[in-house]
Each structure stands twice: as C-alpha cells, then as structure tokens.
Symmetry: C2
Subunit: 513 residues, 2 copies
Amino acid sequence: MDRDDIPLIDNATKPTRRGLWKGAAALAPAALLAGAADAATPNRSALRRVVDQQKDETVALLQDWIRNPTIAAESLNIQGGAEYMARLARDSGFQNVEIVQTDGSPGVFATLDAGAPKTVAIYFMYDVKQFNPSEWSSPPLEARLVDNDLGRVVVGRGAVNQKGPETAFLGALRALRAAGRQPPVNLVLVCEGEEEIGSPHFHQIVRRPDIMARVQQCVGVFIPSAWQDPTTGGVSVNLGAKGVIECELVASGERWGRGPTRDIHSSTKAMVDAPVWRLVHALNTLVSEDGNTPTIDGWFENVRPLTERERELIRLNARNQSEADWKQRNGVSRFIDDATWPQALERLASQPTANIEGLVAGYTGPGGMTVLPHRGVAKLDFRLVPNQTRAEAEAKLRAHLDARGFNDVEVNVSGGYDPTETAETSAIVQAQLAVYRRFNAPATLNPRLAGSWPGAVFTAAPVSLPAGQFGLGHGNGAHAPNEYFLIDSNNPRVQGLTGAVMGFIDILYELAR
Amino acid sequence: MDRDDIPLIDNATKPTRRGLWKGAAALAPAALLAGAADAATPNRSALRRVVDQQKDETVALLQDWIRNPTIAAESLNIQGGAEYMARLARDSGFQNVEIVQTDGSPGVFATLDAGAPKTVAIYFMYDVKQFNPSEWSSPPLEARLVDNDLGRVVVGRGAVNQKGPETAFLGALRALRAAGRQPPVNLVLVCEGEEEIGSPHFHQIVRRPDIMARVQQCVGVFIPSAWQDPTTGGVSVNLGAKGVIECELVASGERWGRGPTRDIHSSTKAMVDAPVWRLVHALNTLVSEDGNTPTIDGWFENVRPLTERERELIRLNARNQSEADWKQRNGVSRFIDDATWPQALERLASQPTANIEGLVAGYTGPGGMTVLPHRGVAKLDFRLVPNQTRAEAEAKLRAHLDARGFNDVEVNVSGGYDPTETAETSAIVQAQLAVYRRFNAPATLNPRLAGSWPGAVFTAAPVSLPAGQFGLGHGNGAHAPNEYFLIDSNNPRVQGLTGAVMGFIDILYELAR
C-alpha cells in the first residue's frame, strides 16, 4: 500500500541512520554482542571466489530483468512478468515453481528442498514503480552500467526496488549450486506482482492453505534489500512497521444530492450548495486544531503505548543521530509542539497519523477560474500503530463521518496494511544482526518503521511468522528517476554486488544454526 | 477579474432569460412601455442597405482581428494588439486615437467629434482568453465561416467575447460614414487589453485626468455585446453586477515556519506539522457549517438589502422563467436551504458569496502518493454586493485570518472589481430597452448580474457614469472551445451581423434623443 514502503527506509528514515554509526556498538548492545563470534559460513572464501566469478553473469541477469518490467498500475506485462519470475526461480534452483492466480495479478510460489532441518521463507516483488523516461539521465529500461561517485552502478527502474537485491539473493543460490553445495536451509519463495499498488491480493497467495502450510513451517521471512548508508554502511533492523490506510475522501454533488453535478459558474454559489466546502468541513473534523492528532471517534482505543524497550531503543537512536542533519534533509525547522529530538522520534514510532497527501478540486491550473466545482477530493493516509488494524480504521473513519451527517462523503480506500511487529529475539532479527556485524555494517534496532510494508501478511494470524527486510549493499532512487543499484563500491564500508550476494549466503547459514 | 464576466450572461444566467419571453411585456412594464413608439433612426432602410452591402467587408474585418490575438495572460502580442486596436479605431472614423501606457498592457483612447450635443462612451477590450487548439473543431485563429444549426457563424477565439460585437459596432460607424452621415452623438472610446486577467490597470486609463474629463461628459457607457438567446432572441438588461475578489489562500511550511519546506514522506507526519491541515482549518473559519454564508468578521456590515423595486423585478423574473430548466442546465436538483425559486433568485441577486474555485495540494495525480505536502492552495472567489467594496473585502479577509492566528496564511488577490449599479431610469438603460423593443427582442430587467465586470470603473466615483452591456445578435463559447459569432441567422428572432450593426446605429440615435 504505502508505495514508499521500502524507499522510506532510504528516504525518510535514512537520516535516522546517517551519522549514527560512530556509536553503533552502544546502540543495541544486547543484540549486537549476542553470539556473534562463532557464526560462520563454511569455506566462505571459496564461495566468495565463485560469487566473484559469477558477477558479470549476475549483473546480466539483473539487466535483463530490468529490461522486462511489470507495472501493476499500468497493467503492463502482468502475465509475462509472472512467467519471467517463475523462470528466474526455476533457473536458480527452486524445484517446484508455480504461478498462482489471484483476483489481481498472479504471484509465484516456489520451494527448494535442500533436505535441511530448517526452512526460510523469502518474499519477492516482481513489479516496479511507474516512471517518466524524460526525467532520467540514463534510460530507465536500458539498465546501463554507469560510474558515479559511489562506484559502478546499474541504473534502471527497479534496480534497488527490488530487482537488484532479489537478483543478488538468487545469485547466492546460484553460487552455492556452482560450488556444489545445497543451501543450508530449505526455501519457500512467495512473489507478488502488485507491491507497488499496495499488495491488494498478496494475502490470497500467502493464505492459500497449501502455501500457508509451507510458509508456517519457516523460521521467518525476509525481503532482500540493499539499504546500506552510502557513507557509513549502516543499516536499520526494523522490529516492525506502522500500518496504513490510503484513501480518497470525495464530496460531490452527485452523492450529496445538493450542489451541482458538474462544474458551474461560481456566481451561482449564492443559490447552490458547494460540495468542496462540504469536503473542507468533513476534513476539519478528522484532526485536532493543530492538525496533529486524529480526532476520529475511538481512534486511540486500541493504540498500545510503547514498551520500555522500545523507548530505550528510541533514546539510543536519538542520542546517536543528528537532529540537525534530519531537519536539514527534510526541510523542517521545528517539530510538532516544538518537541525535542527524542520526543519527536518517540512520536514517530508511537503516534497514529492522519495526513493529507493531496487536495484536488475544481480548477487547479495557474491563476483562477470562476467555477463552483461539483466535486472535491482529499487524498489521505492514516498510519496505524499496534494494535490498530486496517479494518478497524476503515470502519471507524466511516462511522465518524456518518455520525456527523457526512454519509454522502465517500471514503474510497485504495489499500492498506495492518501494523506489523517482529520480536527482537526472533531468529530472523538475530541472524540479521549477526551478519551485519560480520560485515562491520553498524546496525540500528528500529522499534518501528514509520512507513509501511506488507509484512503483516506474514506476522499477523493466521500465518504468524517473524518478518523483516535484509540485505547488504546499496541503491537509491526508488520511485524516483535514476534509480540505481551498486555493483562495485568505492567505499569499503558499503558492499557492492559480491558483498550483497555473500550477505545472503551468510544469513542462510546463520538461520540454519 | 471575473474571467467569465460577459460569458456569464450567456452561461450562468442564460436560463434566467430562456423560456421567459412569452411574458416579457409583463416583465418590466414601466420600462418596456415608456416612449417606445416614437423612437426612430432616420432613413433606416437606406442605412440598412449600406450595412448589408458592407457585410462581407465587416466579416473580413472580424476575421483578420481574430487572426491577430492578444492574450494578456500569456503576454502575447500586447503592443501589437494595442496598435491594431488603434488602427481599427482610426479606420472607423475616430479622429483622435492614442495608445495609452499603463503599468500593464497599454490601452487605447479615441474620440470622434460629430458636432453633436451629446456624447456616448464605448468600452472595448482587445484581448482574448487563452485557448487550447486541440479542443477546437475549427482552428481558433483561422476565423472560419462555418454553418451550424443557428445559421452561418465565424468560429474563433474572441468571436463573441468581444471582437464580433465590437466589430459590429465599428461597422455601424463605417456604415454611417458610407451613407454620408455623421454619427448622431460624439463618441469616446476607451479600450483595454487586460480584461481577461481582471482589468488590473484599466482604471489608469479611465481616470487619467484628460480622459476622465471626456468620459464624464458622456450620457453613459456600454460594451458592445451579442447575447441574444438563440431560441427566443431574448436579452438581459443588467442594472448592475456583483463585485468580486479572486484570490489564492496559501498555507506553506516556508511561511508558517512549521512543517516541511518541500514535500516529504508522509510517515513523518507523526513528528512534523502539516501546512495542508492548516489550510483546511483556515478555510473552515470562512463560512458557516453549511458552506453557504461567509463568516468573515464584519463581512455583512455594508451589505445593502434589496430595494422593493429589485425584489419586484426578481419576482417577475421568477414567474417568467423555468426553474426546472435552470436546474437541468446547471445539474442542480435543490437550492440552498431548499429555497423556492423566487427565494433562490433573491439570494442570487442579494447574497455575497465565498466560493472555493479549486484546491491544489501535494499529490494530485491518479491514486495516492505518500507525501506530506509543504504547501496547500485554495483558489477562492468572493462575490460582493452593494455597498461592499473590493478594498474592504480584502482588508476584512486578512484581518479575519490574522485575528485567528493565521497570519502566515497568504492571501494573494489576483484581481477584483467593486460591485456596480446603474439606475433603471438612466438614458443608457432606457435606450437599450427601446432598441430591443424595436427588434422584438424580449428584454428582462435584471436587478443585478450575479457575475462581475469592470463596470465599476465607470459607475463608481470619480467617474460616476451609467454603464451597461448592449447589443443584438448572438454568439457563444466564450472562454470555451469553438467560440462563435453569428453572421447569418436562421431564426428571425435572433439577429445576425446586419441586425447587430443596425442595433448599434439605433442605440446611438436613441441616445441622441
């Protein structure tokens, strides 16, 4: 749903990580020090040579995938993208690969039985965000190799979100095979082609009884990622994420039965009701006077306060991160209520939000136009914290408007996720920390990502699996022009493709322990 | 200011006239019956032959003018348009023609001394509205002659707003000259090239001391028009018009000092203030809960109630006009407060309005985008009634926002007019009624146009001149694609070009009486 779920880590919370890593060891001491030294991937240097030898082939694999985009929002290459994904899985060693139909785009379900005691689930998305080629300095579908100040990168739509990291993960399986090894864990792969439109049918894949049975046997699930800070190499380990509902509030003459049913001359306002004023009045009831607290009836009923551990992690993060840097990057000079930095970060993790993403009504061009619009639209997102749910939020928003007589104001929910949480003690989190430590990538334990991703499909009942993002390496520009994925890194703290592939090998061994 | 000032007569209030004409004689009995029979233009049939002979030449004049557009909003052909206007005036018999510089586009001032006892002022606009050629079925600058169900028309930008009627007026002067006659009145012509952007500098022309001295000697002023109803031939005689201010309310992080100074990820809403919510809250204070009454401090202080005569005219109009027709045309099923038809028309004439023309903030494309916008804009127009003034309205809006702490919310007024009024007993109104009667064009006395035009430049002090719109003939599509002006009419009730030219000749003789 939250189109910026993954990029968010890079964009909105990157500053949370940047400048933080000097004191990283102090950040999450329990996690960082637990059982680190004895973790190891057997014959790691031999594997690394294989990975290095396969690098050009892995790059070519990524380039070809970028050149074959699937865009759910444009219904582009849906079936073809699923078949491509299935072939990739098959070619990378998955023994059973199935295209799974849904009420929307098909997904892919694949398994790799390595005869191992443990099984790990992997979540892939095969779709990419829309793009406007005219905004790109390198064509978005050419996947060119380009040198920038970070090193050599592949530029293309989906490079980091998520084909680059996913290709690196598949590269890990290919390298193991080339080295004559079975993966140390069995794998269950669930892929969707609608992540960029909010994963509206992903639950139909994960909850298909036979698929769910396999997924539930896993020790955890992660989506391959590559969000190392380009300077420090730092990464976030997220213990959860806020949920979200994204919707349009629409007031219209058609639905209201008052006001016009098309834009008419504004002079008629003296005798005709105005749907846009109705929209303004309805919006006005949704938040406090300062615009910062949702005032929807019962909204905070199920909000769970932060735990002491969550507060502790936030205090650590606040201490180690530059407030000035965050503010500068976001063009913000003051926080809500002039909050201090730790207070602001506590709000970020703990507070549900009501946000207006956009307003569209009547004449929107330059200057004015004397019309009385028949329709006004507010695009909203509401971030949810545990134990709020998407269904609860939708119902309460509707009930709140109805109770105030705004029955005619439409609430068109385009998508959303429940909040998601994964325990710090889970194998998936501990394995991430162990591998990051091995790469000297300073990891921050983030109690809750303020953005959203479809993790709740896994973490919530009935699947109930620990879930997260994992990956070494770096890329940027998700949902933006000139998206890239780092192949050869100039900065020893930041991994290129080989390091990214090795990271995936390492975490599989770590999870096998 | 009100970009739809003249078209309004055709668009928004046309239904007020349509279906009305059956009972037209009963509508404004005093006006319609006063001194009608004895009015006459000497040797009218000889003049009409001249006008007919010149018709092709007049059409060619109009076509050439359309092919040379001036668009103030695009700074297109400003100086050239003024020079073109000056040449047109000179070629049509004005003896003294001067391009008048202003702080914006130049105007044109011209005089024609006919040695007559009386002088009449004429108001011209030489600019036209912007256009998008792709929306036109006949190219907007080709001024093609096209046959439609009304007859033969010239299609082009400015055809009816206002080059067609203005060319017809110049045709009247040319016909008189060709017939060897002086006009029966002296003429003072004031032209502006910024009508479509709200006449921001027109007062600099009209109030230049020497120009004002000439204008003040006139019995009245009119702008040539051509808004006969295409079915009935009916016309409105407006005794005034509402004023207006058009403005943008802008809330932004930059000005507020809170919230972001660029669009940032919406997850940050938990810690960052939202300028768009601030805009919503500011807007919410401007009108009553039902959105229908401005609640700006002191807004009604100077509002003058309708006079008994105004109420009488409205009652007459309500009786003779189809409510169902109006509602159908405007896509409206109910009026404010479920008002009856006469109540609604009384509101239309008497009530000041606060209208949202448009809302623009953040992401406005299809679907959603998880941003926290740094800026929100509401495009507003406020219609003013006597004795409100534009300056008063601007000051009160600003003071109202300031009093509520919204000092940072910008009010960017792009233009506006004071309300304007002209007495029913004035020569300019009585002459219009007399000429319309001669053409059997049923005329409605409209106490106040709900739209706006720059008439107050003339009617208010220091100029203090009766002002109105006048013209036979028909056109449509002002500010819209496929604007046209009728040359040859299929409907005997509706005048073509020759009738329009004769109407201008007749009104000059009428005003000379």
